[in-house]
Amino acid sequence: MKVKEFSKILVMILLLGSFKILAQEGSLTVVAVGEATVDKDKVVVQEPYLNNNLSNAQKSAVIELVKLIRNDFSFYQKKFFVVESAPNNTNSRPVTNYEYWNSKAIRYLMTVSAEKQGEGVKLNFIVEDTKEKKQIVNSTDSASLMTMRKIGHQFSDIAYRQITGKESIFKSKIVFVSDRNSRLGKQMKEVYLMDYDGKNVQQLTNHGGVTVSPAMSKDGRYLVYSLIPGRETRKRNIDLYLMDLKTKETHVISSREGINSGAIFNDEGNSIFLTLTSSGNAEIYEMNLANAQLRKVTNHFASDVDPSLTADGRLMTFLSDRAGKAMIYIMDPKGEEKDVKRISFVGQTNGTPRFSPDGKEIVFSSWLDNSFDLFRINSDGSGLIRLTKEFGSNEDPSFSNDGEFIAFTSQRVLSRVKADQNIYIMDRDGGILGAVTSGFGNCLSPRWYNY
């Protein structure tokens, strides 16, 4: 009996084993279906319902707010199609006729109602899902004429989050450098901050010199930048400055001999990664902001510049000419020369590698056909693609906080001595959405933040 049972078990084991092998060997015929088409959702942002007790200035501000919401959603062209809305003739919000909107294939209906509240305006923002026939957002806020834009972006952000479940760019900001204050014979570049849509521009620095490579901390409180002093001072060293945007205090945090530049904050905001040339060649260091202590991050006889970190700070990409040409590398920034890996193997001159927020992609500029163009590559070195072409000279890319867009500078040569440089936004696949700066001098070094 025992023998019989044992042999039964043995046979079963053998059978199971052989099946496993067969399944591995079995060849299935694979065919690719291809990329899915997007179910683009149609969105209508209705004209506002304005209570009669509002002043004319308040009324026009609310109308502007509605335009701003439409403009916000039109950035996400891959996801939404913003449909024109008909003017409404009432000043209070009627009951929604879901059948009507469904018949027009409108998925989301957004309405703003406004009434006077003290000196300000009470705003009620409602988003309805016409397919599910229910309100998905009902948000009330009070605004003054000054805070109207901010509230508008907030409403857009709430709606976008509710619909897609992801963060939006609507509350994000772009820090950049402009030379608009330059006078004849004296170049001046100062740091500015604007909303992502190019509005609400504030000047942050006022040195009368040339500021370069601005970067902000994640919480939006601190700004680092380097200053090339003006001609009137005898000093020629390029120092690194830190500005507290809350107190408006500025001080030099690194003034070693040579260049102190290209600084970025780490994720926690307690240290910065910067490039120093004090050792004789450019190396990347990490500086602890509390005690100003330096730690070498790269250590190579070639120049290593332009660090960019992933959102979680686990990977750093930088530019190095250790292969003979400027090429893109990644490494673990926690150590010195730790896990350095070359990412790009092509391109005459590559520049400004910048990580996507999730760290999966790197966007960079490269010299091709007599101008710089932007390229994207996976951070494992695969999937190199070109993003811009025949669109001037494009440099300084920076991913948006959600990784869907890239801000960059594009330069047009107008004459032999004159060129025009502005900040543009494109989607992550190179579809250009337009310029966000114009008539504001030459704008460069954009960096995109959300806080």
């Binding site: 291809g34 190199l384 693609i385």
Partner: protein, 279 residues
């Protein structure tokens, strides 16, 4: 009598002793054979993987130039390229027709697909044909790869692989897949399978928040003789349940597929179709 009895007992005892020993030895032999075969197969798979990686690594270094086309341009490659490709594949068809008549069935399948698309716009039709042809070529390549993999598995081909690595990025002369008796059935099956993506694609839709996330899954499909779907299940998950679910749904909602002819029925009934979303 006594002696006889003793001998009988003795023999009986001995018989069981030897039976047990013999059984144990046989079991041991079978086990050893089983384990060693399994080990060999596993080793071969490992070797195959290593070889593939080696080849891939040696080929990748050969990329020398920045891409000329932008992503947008690559997505909307002009019709001129389509036509050129069309002619090329026609040439290919003519050649193979001489060797094998069975291609007619493949053509018939394509004509069917053409009829399906007849009410679409002219340009769209062209494009879908082009795409399905591309898909076909793609699946042919895959079967080629499978062949070489099988060879690599037995270990015979490792020197060939080494030579390939040494030779660098050479164009392969290709493998003729029409002609042989076994390939006949395979070709017809592939012709049938190649019509499936065109049917599934209109139903393969995703909401905006799932687009551009680099997700991919594969769905294994079992068909019935009348072309309806018996079963479709996720073979390789994308990791996103919603994405997988929508892929499976698109397979069901695109049914019924063309009825199965005898030549292709065995494989289709057995669930030999694997649909890649997107690849």
């Amino acid at each position: 009598m006594l002696k006889h009895h003793y001998t009988y007992q003795h023999i009986k005892q001995n018989f069981y002793v030897y039976l047990k020993r013999s059984f144990a030895i046989h079991v041991a032999i079978i086990l050893i054979a089983f384990i060693s075969t399994r080990q060999m197969v596993l080793n071969a798979i490992k070797l195959k993987k290593e070889n593939l990686e080696l080849v891939q690594a040696s080929v990748r270094v050969d990329m020398v130039a920045m891409p000329k086309f932008t992503l947008a341009e690559l997505k909307n490659i002009s019709s001129g390229v389509e036509e050129a490709q069309d002619e090329k594949s026609k040439d290919q068809e003519d050649k193979t027709e001489a060797i094998n008549k069975d291609l007619e069935i493949k053509k018939a399948a394509q004509i069917e697909a053409d009829k399906e698309a007849a009410f679409l716009e002219e340009s769209k039709k062209k494009r879908s044909n082009f795409l399905s042809k591309l898909k076909e070529i793609g699946s042919k390549d895959l079967s080629d790869k499978n062949k070489s993999r099988e060879k690599g598995m037995s270990g015979e081909n490792s020197s060939k692989l080494k030579n390939l690595v040494l030779a660098g990025n050479k164009l392969s002369t290709g493998v003729q897949i029409y002609g042989s008796g076994q390939a006949k059935e395979l070709t017809q099956f592939q012709a049938y399978v190649a019509t499936i993506p065109d049917r599934v694609r209109p139903h393969w839709r995703l909401p905006s928040f799932l687009i551009g996330k680099n997700l991919r899954c594969r769905v294994r499909v079992w068909l019935n003789l009348d072309g309806s779907v018996r079963k479709a299940e996720v073979y390789e998950s994308s990791g996103n349940q919603d994405y997988d679910q929508r892929a499976v749904e698109s397979v069901y909602s695109a049914a019924p597929y063309p009825t199965l002819k005898e030549e292709v029925s065995k494989r289709a009934l057995n669930g030999d179709i694997l649909l890649g979303f997107p690849l």
